[in-house]
Symmetry: C2
């Protein structure tokens, strides 16, 4: 198959070596080649070909095809793993590696809308490992790894309860006589709702429930509950289970609901690593679940990687399509130009690429910071976890909250903008923006709702600001809260931008604090004062995220260059991208920046804008080489518009032609409805 | 069925009389009652009950069900019309009224994703009326109205050509010997692509094609082409037709593709009101299609109404759900509060309501202006259409472009924000945000792509600005371009905001003009200079839209009050909404506003923000009464979260339970795939 001529021209003229970039992006030549080999193995396998685009299937058909494909996938993946590493040890890192294969590019290429068994390896097994005792692990872990009679899910969220976890209503009452727990969802709003794979797939659920012993409440605990018969898959007595229905995205997940009515489980199916109920009903509180907290942070760090993945998938599709698509003449009677030659189109696409790359730099840093804090916690034991000075957990928590929130929001917006930049064709499901958007948008809510996360960050920021007034030492990421110097506009443009963003963040934290105090002085409770200052608090957290993203991206770039991790041509282009990201953030935040940096004048702003346009012009010739360098396999993009060969119109037609609705020249509804209507003469 | 207690409380405590509001909103008591009666007639009819949520159906099933439902709908609607008006005259206004029934709230309630036969009454019949000669109308119009053998569509856009209409490739060659046109889509990119109903439904298409007579090109003309046999519905020889596949929204439309290969039609099937090809091939150019231009404007005015409809559907759902949903405690150990009690939630929802109401005020004005201009054109004949002074068509065109573009963009963003404000449940298809978003988002591209429309407006603005330098009289909507006075911050807050927005728009128009000139001075063509100034030009057009929206909303409010159209309690609340809209626009545009109004200081901004928060607090108690006043029938909202009775959790469960995937306790894929995998021990 030939490659579109315009794309070929772009590739030939680029100064960026996309293979060079790809090696860096993949974390080195070895990882790049390993992934490519794995992709070839699976994507060339006819077992994973797709006869019909999933968007044409009914919800039920989609479920059935996803189950069929995913069992084949898991078996073949395990086979590959055994070939590679015959003596595999089952532990946290093995599980993590396996999970990354399921959720990363390999899994995405096969399951654009995810699949029901992923939660078994992510939440279910991770919780077993983290909260199960040694005996419990001996009983369950190996069977789970081999899916030997165990198809797990993790059931926390309820129909009426999400963010406010303490409000969960599902309860587990201990019956000391029979040494059993009795699980109940006593109201409609207490039905479990959302767990992946729960609908029709899982046969065991880890259920979060309020523990009661002899009527006394002992807080939330986790219980292993078999919900379907291992052999027949029939729901067990007292179990009311099903799928919650179609959604904006992730329609392969089989999210489910679960009602429990007097479902009894043996005592040893409460996960008891952290707290125990003895046979006689005595409750023993163990070490508080520090690592649970760590898990929440972990998921947010991973989410940052997930959303930048989606953003760059979308950017790749939009970039290639914008070269292939020609529209409107610029000069006289010459042919219509590539859409990417319109500066307005460049301004839509290139900043998204810059954003994705910078999120990657920051997420790499955040990942290292996370591992440091984990070591701190594991080394220091319980003492270091309670927020004592020198412990970085609160800082990590606050950062992971606001970076996840802001990145998810902006990535989702970016995916939408990129879709819109592809005009009508971007609207088609075969372009795949809808699926990418669905998964990215989901992250806005799951694992910490956007506004809730911002408010958590803001609480931390206000606390640090108050500490700064008391001349305490501040953690590095918020040290700018102490520095009240005004902006001095120097020669380094990016430094000016970052400093202006920091000052804006500082002033907004101050304003939020003052607003809270103002409300408190009117005799409302501290909580109500926080509520009333909600707009200021969330704005402050967003401003902090912007300040951090820009400074950290610059620092990471400098560090990569120092370490010599970037070849010269890659370093050059990544440098332009980081600069574009910093300037773009500055300009997008102009409202706050100008308000809180009244010294910035029109000449300075014009200078920033000119540099912005200059960067667009300089990056333009490398746009295709750049997105080639992300090295998304065509299957991972899953898009008629974004394929490497640029055969856009051919693929659009092919995809349309294989739609089942086009398989018969005349649809049955013509004879049953249209013809009678025409004969009846409306 | 009982109504949710929290909703009841809200309704009891409101100061706004929602029936009062509803009467105004519907355009008077008569219209309100007529619509309600019509809705009862159709929504209570068991013929229009839906056994399965459309999102659970396959694409083909959805098509078939939509056809079945829509034929029933059209027949019953025609029946109702005959009862109401036995002596109906078929003309432009009859057609318009009928179309509004199909696309307005009645049609939306029955077809959330639209239906294939709508285009027959909108584009197909309208074009017949506007471009057909009297003989052609005699031959086709009555049959079309009764769908007597005619199911029409309108085929303009091609796979490779949208915005740049001159670039269309489909051609019609006149064969004088046989007095026929020969139609061809000579390339893949010239396939027609997108027309509604084209896929499997329509049997006649109005095809736009380049006319050639003896090899000479005569521009684009419209041709009536039968594409499917009237009796068998088989595609006719040379016709390659099908559905283009699933999309982000509007999946009931049956958008199609069409290839034509030497398809012959008689000479009298070129629509010849404006230009003729005589039997011998002589081409006669008639009056230029002024009203065509009017049609484009008309569609944009209507689009403004459509997107505000979607925005307010979404706002209604989010408001009711935010009262029913309780989450997080504010004060101590008291129960979790309604989400709407969080100020951050109020800031998400109330400004969207304000925006929708103000868009409505502006669209009413725009509609009147459109009718005025139409009269001007019809009265003045051809002379007044060529842009002579005193003709308002260019002004109307520029306004309709930028208002459609900006309103669509902001409404789409608003729908997304409202969805996100409903957390996880907003993500479910049964909440219906996805469908509303799909239809709103489509308007970003169709009937004038966003950026293209902004650039058209900007060209007008720059022209007017240059005129102002020459001291010419400017049209009313841009008269502020002459007024170079700086902002004087007075007592009237909204006046300050509007003036600041106008100055910002003026300065951005000036900057765009300077930027164009700067590029031109570097010896690039005028077109390339415009391309290079693309960012400044689009920003200027957006700024103009904001200035116009805010000023016009204030003026419309004043005029309604003067005329006594608003009862006192409605006037009070609408006044708060307009003020909120103006301030919200000002604050959202703070970046531009502060850049171009350097005199605004921190105290003034704090004052604006305080007023913003005050308005949120004042509107909060009337939020439910307000959305009740939009009077969306539950069927029109189509949402488990937004129903009038607030039985959110019940409906979520009911909707989940009727999903076909939940009809069998054990899905077949368990035996075929999951069980074998478990037995094989992965």
């Amino acid at each position: 198959m030939s490659v579109n001529a315009d794309l070929q021209k772009e590739r030939a003229a680029a100064t960026l070596d996309s293979e060079d970039f790809a090696r860096w992006w993949a974390g080195g030549a070895f990882h790049l080649e390993e992934r490519r080999a794995l992709e070839r193995r699976f994507y060339d396998d006819p077992d994973f070909a797709e006869a019909v685009h999933p968007s044409c299937l009914s919800y039920k058909e989609r479920y059935e095809q996803t189950v069929a494909r995913s069992t084949r996938f898991l078996a073949k993946l395990r086979q590959w793993q055994r070939e590679k590493q015959p003596q595999l040890q089952l532990d946290v890192s093995t599980l993590r590696d396996f999970r990354l294969l399921l959720s990363g590019s390999l899994g995405t290429g096969l399951f654009q809308q995810s699949f029901p068994l992923r939660v078994h390896f992510s939440m279910f097994m991770t919780t077993l490992l983290g909260q199960g005792t040694e005996e419990q692990q001996a009983q369950w872990l190996n069977r789970s790894w081999h899916m030997d009679g165990v198809l797990g899910t993790y059931a926390q969220t309820e129909l009426g309860h999400g963010t406010f976890v303490r409000g969960l209503e599902t309860r587990a009452d201990y019956d000391a006589e029979r040494q059993e727990f009795i699980l109940n969802t006593p109201t409609q709003s207490s039905y479990k709702w959302w767990p992946g794979g729960l609908g029709n797939t899982a046969n065991v659920a880890i259920v979060l429930a309020q523990l009661y012993v002899r009527g006394k409440h002992y807080g939330l605990q986790s219980f292993l509950v078999r919900i379907r018969d291992e052999r027949t898959h029939e729901p067990l007595p007292g179990v009311d289970v099903g799928d919650i229905g179609p959604r904006l995205g992730g329609n392969g997940v089989n999210n489910g609901f679960l009602g429990l009515h007097d479902v009894r489980i043996p005592r040893n199916q409460m996960l008891m690593k952290n707290a125990q109920v003895l046979a006689d009903g005595t409750f023993v509180q163990g070490r508080p679940p520090l690592l649970l907290y760590g898990t929440m942070v972990y998921v947010r760090v991973i989410t940052l990687k997930d959303v930048l993945f989606g953003l760059l998938q979308a950017a790749t599709i939009a970039t290639r399509y914008s070269v292939v698509r020609r529209q409107s003449r610029i000069d006289g009677d010459r042919p219509e130009v590539s859409v990417l030659d319109h500066t307005t189109q460049q301004a839509k696409i290139l900043p998204q690429i810059a954003r994705g790359v910078c999120y990657r730099l920051v997420s790499d840093w955040l990942w290292r910071f996370y591992e440091q804090v984990l070591q701190q916690l594991e080394g220091g034991g319980q003492g270091s976890a309670t927020g004592a000075r020198g412990n970085s957990l609160p800082e990590l928590h606050a950062l992971s909250c606001c970076l996840k929130a802001v990145a998810t929001d902006e990535a989702t917006e970016g995916v939408e903008l990129l879709r819109k930049s592809c005009g009508g064709h971007g609207f088609l499901s075969s372009a795949n923006f809808d699926s990418i958007h669905g998964l990215t948008a989901a992250a806005y809510t799951y694992e910490g709702e956007y506004t809730v996360l911002l408010l958590q960050t803001a609480r931390f920021l206000v606390r640090q600001y108050v500490d700064s007034l008391k001349r305490k030492v501040l953690p590095a990421s918020v040290s700018y809260l102490r520095d009240t110097a005004r902006l001095v506009w120097g020669k380094d443009l990016t430094a000016n931008c970052v400093r202006a963003l920091e000052i804006s963040a500082l002033e907004q934290v101050r304003q939020a604090w003052q607003s809270q105090n103002g409300h408190k002085s009117k005799k409302v409770s501290a909580e109500m004062a926080s509520n009333l200052a909600g707009r200021q608090l969330t704005s402050a957290a967003i401003a902090h995220a912007h300040a951090f993203f820009t400074r950290n991206a610059l620092e990471e770039l400098a560090s990569l260059r120092r370490k010599g991790d970037l070849s010269q041509n890659v370093s050059h282009v990544v440098g332009q991208l980081v600069e574009l990201f910093v300037i773009d953030t500055f300009l997008r935040q102009a409202g706050c920046v100008l308000r809180w940096n009244s010294g910035i004048n029109g000449t300075q702003l014009r200078f920033v804008e000119r540099r912005y346009e200059e960067l667009l012009a300089r990056l333009r010739p490398n746009a295709v080489a750049l997105v080639d360098g992300f090295d998304f396999h065509d299957r991972v993009l899953g898009s008629t518009l974004g394929c490497h060969d640029g055969r856009v119109y051919e693929r659009l037609m092919e995809e349309a032609r294989r739609n089942p609705v086009n398989q018969e020249p005349v649809n049955a509804s013509f004879h049953s409805h249209l013809l009678p209507m025409m004969r009846g003469k409306l």
